[in-house]
């Protein structure tokens, strides 16, 4: 099957004015316009098959949004070849837009002062969606995203979670082949994040919609995307299944044990002590295969264990660890 998205050596360079320090520098800047080239994306190559759900992950400034903007036709690549649904997205922007849906986590596409339903109706005309398909999709999305109670309310009156569900619904009304989501869970509370993740996983599974998702949140990837593309400084760091990455970096999970009273020094075979605060002890789990039950078995009932907390590494830490382990990982990415 031909890939639905193909990137070969894609790069994007921005020209940025060199700013000189101080008031004198600002004045000099008026007459001397020196620019530096910022490589936001550099030599990115991947291909995505129809029906895949891919997490595009990286820290701030890694080039995630720039790549999404190039795939959606907003920006023109400075280098390489990019193909979305067999077309160059930037030179076929309007055609490309008919077949994709885009959700920006922090930029609403809904009409702020009008009811949600009105924005949906406008999209029906913009995308030329047949009446029966529009009615079916609207009913399905309203039910799946639980929008029935607020679809008739002005967008300005919605919570962030409600608005995000409406944004996602609007992006799916025309049955796009690819759904791009730029940080769709940013700022959402736990319940809203969960609802969004479950829905996206379902739409990918049930309808076969290809999903490309940028995020800082590893849980988004875990619950929606079996495949992960990780970038930093505009370059590709990792492209493969999440479990391959986690298998390598599992040692970075953090375990906190809280005791009723300080049990004294406590060494575990399953975890390495990272910090000892007396009654609270912090460990790093060395092995991805180690579970909480293993830890509980090893600690045993004698020490008066009160609470236990296992934290997944945040994305910054994952990438930091990834960098540290890069020589080991070379060639391991599928």
């Amino acid at each position: 099957m031909a890939p639905i998205i193909s990137a070969v050596g894609v790069g994007k360079t921005f020209r940025q004015l060199k700013r000189q320090a101080g008031f004198g520098g600002a004045l000099r800047g008026l007459v001397s316009r020196d620019y530096t080239e910022i490589r936001a994306v550099e030599g990115i190559a991947f291909s995505i098959e129809p029906g895949e759900a891919v997490g595009y992950l990286g820290p701030n400034g890694a080039g995630k949004s720039t790549m999404i903007k190039m795939m959606t036709g907003i920006l023109t690549p400075s280098a390489g070849t990019l193909s979305v649904l067999g077309r160059e997205p930037h030179s076929n922007r309007i055609l490309n837009a008919r077949d994709i849906g885009v959700v920006f986590g922090q930029r609403s596409q809904l009409w702020w002062d009008l009811p949600v339903r009105d924005s949906f109706e406008l999209n029906r005309h913009i995308y030329d969606i047949p009446d029966s398909r529009f009615a079916d999709n609207l009913a399905y999305l309203t039910q799946m995203l639980d929008m029935g109670s607020y679809i008739g309310r002005p967008v300005r009156q919605l919570s962030l979670g409600q608005r995000m569900r409406a944004e996602i619904a609007m992006a799916l009304l025309h049955d796009p082949k690819i759904l791009f989501l730029d940080e769709p869970t940013i700022g959402l509370d736990v319940v809203a994040k969960d609802a969004v993740r479950r829905f996206l996983a379902e739409i990918n599974r049930e309808r076969g919609t290809t999903i490309i998702l940028t995020t800082h949140d590893l849980v988004d990837i875990e619950q929606i995307c079996p495949r992960l593309i990780m970038v930093d400084d505009g370059k590709l760091l990792f492209d493969g299944e999440l479990r391959h990455l986690r298998a390598t970096l599992g040692s970075r999970r953090r375990l906190t044990l809280e005791f009723a009273t300080d049990p004294g020094p406590l060494t575990l075979k399953t975890a390495t002590l990272a910090a000892d605060e007396g009654a609270a002890k912090h460990y790093l789990l060395e092995n991805e295969a180690v579970s909480l039950i293993d830890v509980l078995n090893e600690v045993g009932p004698a020490h008066g264990l009160k609470d236990i907390k296992l934290e997944e590494p945040d994305i910054e830490e994952v990438i930091r660890t990834f960098y540290l382990n890069k020589p080991k990982l070379a060639g391991s990415a599928p």
Binding site: T72, I94, L95
Partner: protein, 266 residues
């Protein structure tokens, strides 16, 4: 091409509905424009009637010039001013990206999703002043001159819309372009008066690089049979051509800026 034509009425309807979410503010906006422009025009009327004429133009002729200036501007600006003034903020906040992922031309979407009915106050005042002045200027109105008058009105409005497009499009590359509006409105104020009252270099400027002399002075002078500074017998054709010419330049500029859009980061 057919799709945008179908979508346009829906875009306009959405914007009008948005404005009517705040009916008090909309009505007050109309009223304030009528009062503000009415005040300016009253002052000009007092000056012209006190001194008899301004550059050879008596008050009814000046009233026609002012009404044409306001009508052409408000027709052009209702399709463009707020839409393109706000591009700068859209670029800065990244919301312009959302326009670019719709299967419709970005210019069409911006213009028709923001048609500013707030200019109704301008239009009402301009039409009223025009209706008062037309019978008094003693022009020889034939079907051809009426057609010419209407065509130049459209041409002037198109020039305004094209200029706003160019200023707004510049923000796609420079991120900030609002200072260009200050320059525009500086010349726009001058375009309310007969061109010959200004120094010669300014007359040249307002018929070339900043062609706001064509906004009202040239077409109204032609309609009234008055000699047109610098242009002479070429004035009628120039008044008709300036709008389409400026539109072509604006289209090229818009497409160039859109191709070179970089966003403001993120």
């Amino acid at each position: 091409m057919q799709r945008p034509l179908v979508v346009i009425p829906h875009l306009v309807r959405m914007y009008v509905r948005t404005r009517f979410e705040y009916p008090g503010a909309t009505m007050l906006g109309w009223l304030s424009q009528i009062v503000a422009y009415g005040g300016i025009y009253t002052a000009i009327a007092l000056i012209v009637t006190r001194f008899g004429n301004l550059g050879g133009w008596i008050w009814p002729e000046m009233a026609l010039l002012l009404s044409f200036h306001l009508l052409a501007y408000s027709l052009g600006a209702s399709f463009s001013f707020t839409q393109f003034r706000d591009i700068e903020e859209k670029v800065r906040l990244g919301t312009f990206d959302a326009v670019l992922v719709k299967p419709i031309g970005a210019w069409t979407y911006l213009v028709f999703s923001g048609i500013n009915i707030g200019y109704a106050g301008h239009v009402l005042l301009a039409l009223g002043l025009m209706a008062w002045s037309l019978p008094q200027v003693g022009a020889d109105w034939t079907p051809l001159t009426v057609l010419f008058f209407l065509a130049t009105l459209v041409s002037s409005a198109a020039m305004v819309c094209a200029t706003m497009t160019m200023i707004g499009a510049t923000a796609l590359v420079w991120v900030k372009s609002s200072h260009l509006y200050s320059i525009f409105f500086g010349f726009w104020e001058l375009a309310r008066y007969p061109l010959q009252i200004f120094p010669f270099p300014l007359q040249i400027l307002m018929l070339t690089f900043v062609p706001l002399g064509f906004l009202a002075y040239v077409p109204v002078a032609v309609a009234l049979g008055k000699p047109v500074a610098l242009l002479g017998s070429a004035a009628p054709l120039a008044a008709l051509a300036i709008g389409p010419l400026w539109v072509l330049i604006a289209m090229a500029h818009w497409h160039y800026c859109l191709r070179n859009y970089q966003g403001a980061g993120g």
